[in-house]
Amino acid sequence: MLNNFVLPDTLPAASEMIVCSMALLIILVDLFVSRSQRWMVSLLTILTLLGAALMTLVTADGQTTLSFGNMFVDDLLADFLKFLTYFAVIMMLIYSRSYLAERGLDKAEFYVLVLFATLGMMVMISAANFVTVYLGLELLSLSMYALVAIDRDSVRSTEAGMKYFVLGSMASGLLLYGLSMLYGATGTLEIGGVAQAVNQSEAPANLLVFGLVFTVAGIAFKLGVVPFHMWIPDVYHGAPTAVTMFLGSAPKLAAFAITMRLLVYGLFGLAMEWQQMLLIMALLSIGLGNLAAIAQTNIKRMLAYSAISHMGFMLLGLTAGVVGGQVDPFTAVNAYSSALYYVVAYVLMTLGTFAMIMLLSRSGHEAELLEDFKGLNKRSPWFAGMMLIMMFSMAGIPFFIGFFAKFSVLLATIKAGYTWVAVVAVIFSLIGAFYYLRVVKLMYFDAPVDTGPLRSDIDMRILLSINGLAVAFLGMFPDTVMSLSTTALVRSL
């Protein structure tokens, strides 16, 4: 009935619209620019993201607004995460520009796929309905599959893309199956409705837990935690470094968002169940990630395992929200904001570290082995210092951002009564410190294999320096990011 149709409030989704239309526009623009004018495409992409950021900033009012028939939500958490996403992507684009150009990968497809993936993430972040979650997730995943395989002449790249595609489809299947179970149990696709149904115990418990297990499995794949982590080392390794950087950074924010929306918001009534599941996966990830990283000689693979262990740490924060079936708002917000802080810190460190790899690589040389970092201090003391900051921060050495992230997560874990979990986590991160410090040792105490000077653009150098200093100083003054995280969560839950 046409006269019942009300035009939805499109303002909350204004940034999504900007990104979407610009992505389409860029495909067209690409037809009319010559090869030497490719930089315009890159610039246009960055401008798009800046525009979206501006729009998000302008429309951020701290209110929770539902739109598109309650499928789309615009709240402070969404604004915060989207804002971080834009900047993660912009940083990735700046870092990888010359890397892509040297390998002939700076085609418009790359930028368009990045924009679509970003759009997918934005939709995930703002999802208020199972369908929206799935829509965003698929948009992100499909773009990612293509991006991983974008270097189509490289066997490793295409193999990685294929693996990611098959396993990712399976994970999507698991998630979809889980969501459909939940739909069956509660009779609604709206996350708010599901939360209500679960809280009022209307839904059959068995069916809920069944759906929950599959949903958790789907999310776990996205986060890349044990035992759904197998794709991570191969894909991180196989994909071009620029794509690995993209894959390892911004999507973690989106994955955190859907975890918050689905588990913490939608299935809060089952918190005691999923906390247990996440706890097991977190411990396995921290253990396996740190142990396996030690044996790696390829720094991208090493960082892949490190990513697994970091996501395990982040999950620890999510498992500390509900204590003994009792919901204490203060404890819960503390725990979830520590997890959010962890993700933010992780994204910042990951961007910097992969940027270092790209800084060292040049045409025909990937610089992805640990050996390539040998004697970096002799070649460039400043950037060796930057890498040192990244490694120290990832290892959780005071007073870098990574330390404070680990510290707040562990504090939340201990407050929730899981002291032994915190002890185990600390022991494993101690073991993990070995492989981070090995990089430092290689940089400072070994003779360089490659003695050539570093060649890179000035914008990349500046950004990398800012990135490194941010990692160093945000750890000394963690209040800013921490209070932003807390506010975003308090206003949105």
């Binding site: 693996k163 098959v166 399976m170 068995n206 837990v209 197998m230 191969d234």
Partner: protein, 661 residues
């Protein structure tokens, strides 16, 4: 007044910093001017403070709060009462004398500025120690003077014996400090405060507590702990072994640190803690016995020494024993009185010895001196006055203080006071004997300065004053302090005995439980003024002993120099025992040093290398490396295995959650 109090320790500190950091810049003269100025300011202000305290003003307050932790507040604070004021005067006066003296003594030394910096730093530390109103600051000063002592004993750091000696002093003092810290720790634990006044206010409550671990009365444990600290610092048997060796340092610091001031810090501390010690007869008996052993047996060792500085050092040990004995019989004011007189005459004797050493071109062996009174008249006269004061000749300052100690021991009814009385009385003879043995050998008799064998050990670096080889009188910067110190050495006892011992000059700063320990009140009854005391002294046993000691020394070393050698042959075993200083050093070396080295090696080889390094560190690293290699095998690269692991994961989660009930 608070500013004045602050300025007193800070002026020498400023001097020390300037001379220490900018010594090269301001030169030698600049360094001694700035440090002497600092100490002179401290001395002048101490006089002002002394007069203020004399007028009845007592200050106890905080100047700076350092930190607050739990219920414990750590502060920098001053307690300025008669006891402190007296100590400040003694410390700054002797320090000033030593500063001036150093100009002459260290004139050729390349470490001139460093030396001035150290002794000023010492003055600062010592002032912090005596002015403190709490245990933390006391401990700070205690350790700081120990540090400077360490630095100065090893001042000539290229000499192995100096390094050995300063290490020894440091280690032995650690043993004492351990006891001291235990005492302070017990106070902090049970009283909950480290402020003197607050602790003293709780003394009755503390006395009622029994320490839970050992089952001892708490107050006894505290007092013995604190006294062990005093034993280390004030060189009481068996922690005395470091003091004779400390003579490796330059003579001025032997006078300042190892005779007049630092070594008396233990005496001062016990007197300061008199409200606590009064509550434990056990601790007092312990103090008394240790003190009397030190007083007598260290005196014996003085008899056989041939190094001029070592004779004075053993006499210092013996006199410290006298002070400790006085503490033991609750005659705290007498102990402090002797501390003061001793500071003057012992500094005088040490500086006199230094002057002799300069005069004899850095020869220290008294067998190669003799007849110096012709060449060094001022040194001779002042040394004679110092020696007379030391042996307690009537009217000299040492007479009043030492006789008072003997009287106090006589009047005491504490367990062990019988032995102590014997020890201090016999000690008088011994003291007189060794003091005048040295005096006669140095200043009288045949001139033997030309018989010095050339490998004799020197007090200083190579010496370019050889000239004609004859001894000569020292320059005025050296003799002036001697004269200035000789005056109080002679007079101070006569002037101050009345107010210090029998008046109420110390007021509340020293506490004696007169009902339990009546020695002081007994003495007060029989005291009829200093002149009467001196007249009575002439007829008393100690005087007869002292005079006979002098006579025997004269007979042995001037009249019939062959007798000592004959006696030495006859009593060989005793001589050997004394020669080896009762084997304390041997015992320490064999038992403690070798024992702890063995323990250390055992822990190093067995504990550290085998267990920690081998099994734990390298072992765990190897284990993790192995696990890591195994884990790596799971990542096969086959996509079906990856998918399989996901399925297994889901399956495991499902099974777990459905079988859980």
């Amino acid at each position: 007044m608070k500013t004045t109090y602050l300025l007193i320790p800070l002026a020498p500190l400023a001097g020390a910093i300037i001379a220490g950091l900018f010594g090269r810049l301001i030169g030698r003269a600049g360094s001694h001017v700035v440090t002497i100025l600092g100490v002179a300011i401290a001395f002048a202000l101490s006089v002002v403070v002394y007069q203020d305290v004399n007028a009845g003003n007592v200050f106890n307050g905080t100047v700076y709060t350092w930190l607050q932790s739990g219920g414990l507040t750590l502060q920098i604070g001053f307690l300025i009462d008669p006891l402190t004021a007296m100590m400040m005067l003694v410390v700054t006066f002797v320090s000033l004398m030593v500063h001036i003296y150093t100009i002459g003594y260290m004139v050729d030394d390349p470490g001139y500025q460093r030396f001035f910096s150290y002794i000023s730093l010492f003055t600062f530390s010592m002032l912090m120690l005596v002015m403190s109103n709490n245990f933390v600051q006391l401990f700070f000063g205690w350790e700081a003077v120990g540090l400077v002592s360490y630095l100065l004993i090893g001042f000539w750091y290229t000499r192995p014996t100096a390094i050995y000696a300063n290490l020894k002093a440091f280690l032995v003092n650690r043993v004492g400090d351990f006891g001291f810290l235990l005492g302070i720790g017990l106070i902090a634990a049970y009283a909950g405060t480290l402020d003197y006044a607050e602790v003293f206010a709780k003394r009755e409550a503390l006395a009622a507590i029994t320490e839970s671990v050992t089952g001892w009365p708490l107050i006894t444990a505290i007092c013995i702990g604190l006294f062990i600290g005093a034993m280390g610092k004030s060189a009481q048997v068996p922690l005395h072994v470091w003091l004779p060796d400390s003579m490796e340092g330059p003579t001025p610091i032997s006078a300042l640190i190892h005779a007049a001031t630092m070594v008396t810090a233990g005496i001062f501390m016990v007197a300061r803690m008199s409200p606590l010690f009064e509550l434990s007869d056990t601790a007092l008996t312990f103090v008394l016995v240790i003190g009397s052993i030190t007083a007598l047996f260290m005196g014996f060792l003085g008899i056989i020494q041939n190094d001029i500085k070592r004779v004075v050092a053993y006499s210092t040990l013996s006199q410290l024993g006298y002070m400790t004995v006085a503490l033991g019989v609750s005659a705290y004011s007498v102990a402090v009185f002797h501390l003061m007189t001793h500071a003057f005459f012992k500094a005088l004797l040490f500086l006199g010895a230094g002057s002799v050493i300069i005069g004899c071109h850095h020869n220290q062996d008294i067998r190669y001196m003799g007849g110096l009174r012709k060449y060094m008249p001022i040194t001779w006269i002042t040394s004679l006055l110092g020696s007379l004061a030391l042996i307690g000749f009537p009217l000299f300052s040492g007479f009043y203080s030492k006789d008072s100690i003997i009287e106090a021991v006589h009047a005491s009814n504490l367990a062990g006071s019988g032995f102590a009385y014997f020890a201090v009385v016999a000690g008088v003879f011994v003291t007189a004997f060794y003091s005048f043995r040295m005096y006669f050998l140095v200043f009288h008799g045949k001139e033997r300065y030309d018989q010095v064998p050339h490998d004799e050990h020197h007090d200083s670096h190579s010496d370019d004053h050889h000239g004609d080889g004859k001894p000569h009188e020292s320059p005025w910067v050296v003799t002036l302090p001697l004269v200035l110190l000789a005056i109080p050495s002679v007079l101070i006892g006569f002037i101050t005995i009345q107010p210090m011992l029998f008046g109420d000059w110390f007021g509340t700063s020293i506490f004696v439980d007169a009902a339990k320990h009546p020695a002081m009140s007994h003495m007060a009854e029989s005291f009829h003024g200093p002149m009467a005391m001196a007249l009575h002294g002439i007829t008393s046993l100690p005087f007869i002993l002292a005079v006979s000691g002098v006579a025997v020394a004269w007979f042995f070393y001037l009249k019939r120099p062959d007798i000592p050698a004959a006696i030495q042959k006859m009593a060989m075993p005793i001589f050997t025992l004394l020669e080896n200083k009762y084997y304390f050093d041997k015992f320490n070396e064999v038992f403690f040093a070798a024992g702890s080295r063995m323990l250390g090696r055992g822990l190093w080889k067995g504990g550290d290398q085998l267990l920690i390094d081998g099994a734990m560190v390298n072992g765990s690293a190897r284990a993790i490396g192995w696990i890591s290699a195994v884990v790596r095998l799971f990542q096969t690269g086959h996509i079906y295995q990856y998918a399989f692991s996901m399925i297994i994961g889901v399956f495991a989660l499902l099974t777990f959650w459905f079988n859980r009930g």
